[in-house]
């Protein structure tokens, strides 16, 4: 139930229901999402969506940290690690 899906903010509108609503694209599938908990979010940024609410903004730079760790481990030890391609656009 704690499933969270990352998606790209497509639009933000001041809605009639007194809450910031908008549309998030999940690799092309779009869904209406409430942005009450990510009030500073901008179109084009990525959010983690849980049951129709954006609960966290995703940090693109931090997202690459796991690949930096892998690279460092590869350099320190003798792991044969391919170069990560990093974040790809869907």
């Amino acid at each position: 139930m704690c499933l969270g899906v990352p998606g790209k903010v497509v639009s933000i509108e001041a809605s009639a229901v007194d809450m910031p609503m908008g549309v998030v694209s999940f690799a092309g599938i779009t869904k209406e999402v409430c942005f009450a908990y990510t009030p500073d979010i901008q179109v084009g940024e990525y959010v983690l969506v849980h049951v129709g609410f954006a609960i966290s903004k995703l940090d693109e730079d931090h997202a690459l940290e796991v690949f930096r760790t892998l690279k460092e481990m590869g350099e320190l030890g003798d792991l044969e690690i391919p170069q990560p391609s990093g974040a790809r656009t869907p």
Binding site: F26, Y37, L48, E60, E65, G74
Partner: protein, 361 residues
């Protein structure tokens, strides 16, 4: 899909497995809290890739599984009423109560509907002013902000035909209960990343300190879990305690204060019974008195509830990490996803469902 696909690459996963093998010198037992993580671990085969020194035990992080039977039976009684539209996340529909489940109530004519978001239930209440719309508000800290906002939104709209059956549970008190048990064998925790997206991890710091163990905030993709395990093993081998964060792209130490503010406005902490485990002090949320008008428990008198659990079901021991699903005598025979004895066999986060789906018996 960005932020997903790159965390599923096999060659990177293999690199982490090699790094874990290189690091480990003795046996360690780790618990992943969240049932979603359990499913990733088994689906991607991580449990079979790890060195034999590492034992993963599955935690109680399946809200559907720990919702007490009295609440399920209460939900079934309310959903059976003629003037009620009963709404729930899909996970809950097939969870067995004492005698039936929500899908069966629906088949018998009850108006039971699955919703994607609690706001959908509020919309249903607006569209059906002649009906009572009830939302089954279960979940951990991740889901509480959404459910709290639904209640607050219904109040701001002046709706009088919307209520929630709240059965929220909280992670840290459950961890405290596990760590304090004489039968505990957990030496490190992988913390539930999405719970921490809301709550941050400050409340785990005293827990890690008092029990002298490491905890790693961990995400849900295969690489997240492998890195989380690597960090936990690194901490265990080095004798390091405290909280570390693997899920840096999503979680910060302070979490989401805006979400917590609304949760604290609508909910207050209460003692809560966990199915199969028992009452854990201060381990749940209930509606604050100011929101009593939205409390389905107060709104619908359902009479005395006498619950009955199947004697053969060992869900409670599984949820506490004391037994694996494969140790259950009913697993795969008298208990299957089609005919479940306990909730962990039907929930998408249940450990029994994971063992069944990925053939780990």
């Amino acid at each position: 899909m960005k932020f997903v696909d790159e965390y599923r690459r096999e060659e990177d996963a293999q690199a982490f497995v090699r790094a874990i093998r290189a690091k480990v010198t003795r046996s360690w037992t780790l618990m992943e809290i969240c049932g979603g993580q359990t499913h990733t671990l088994l689906r991607s085969g991580i449990d079979r890739m790890l060195p034999p020194e590492i034992t993963l035990v599955h935690g109680p992080g399946c809200p559907v599984c720990v919702t007490p039977l009295t609440q399920i039976d209460r939900a079934l009684a309310i959903a059976s009423r003629p003037n009620v539209i009963f709404t729930s996340f899909g996970d809950m529909l097939r969870v067995p109560g004492s005698t039936t489940d929500l899908l069966t109530v629906k088949a018998r004519g009850g108006d039971v509907r699955m919703v994607y978001s609690p706001l959908d239930a509020v919309t249903l209440a607006r569209q059906n002013p002649e009906k009572e719309v009830v939302f089954f508000a279960v979940g951990f800290e991740t889901t509480a902000p959404a459910n709290a906002m639904a209640v607050r939104h219904a109040k701001s709209l002046g709706l009088t035909n919307f209520s929630v059956l709240a059965s929220h549970v909280l992670v840290p008190p459950a961890m405290e209960a596990i760590l304090s048990s004489p039968s505990n064998r957990v030496q490190a925790f992988l913390l539930a990343g999405h719970v921490c997206a809301v709550m941050g991890w400050t409340e785990y710091e005293p827990l890690a300190k008092s029990h002298g163990i490491p905890m790693v905030v961990t995400g849900f993709e295969p690489l997240d879990l492998l890195q989380g395990i690597h960090m936990a093993v690194d901490a265990l081998e080095a004798g390091r305690t405290g909280v570390e964060n693997q899920y840096v792209r999503t979680v910060s130490r302070e979490g989401n204060p805006a979400a917590r503010a609304v949760v604290n406005e609508v909910f207050e902490t209460c003692d809560r019974a966990w199915r199969g485990i028992g009452v854990i002090p201060k381990s749940g949320y209930r509606l604050r008195p100011e929101y009593a008008a939205y409390d389905a428990t107060l709104k619908f008198e359902v009479g005395a509830i006498t619950t009955e659990e199947p004697k053969e079901c060992i869900a409670g021991e599984i949820m506490q990490g004391l037994k694996r699903p494969s140790a259950c005598t009913a697993f795969g025979t008298r208990c299957t996803p089609e005919h479940p004895l306990g909730a962990p066999m039907v929930s998408s986060e249940g450990a029994c469902a994971a063992y069944w789906l990925y053939a780990r018996a």
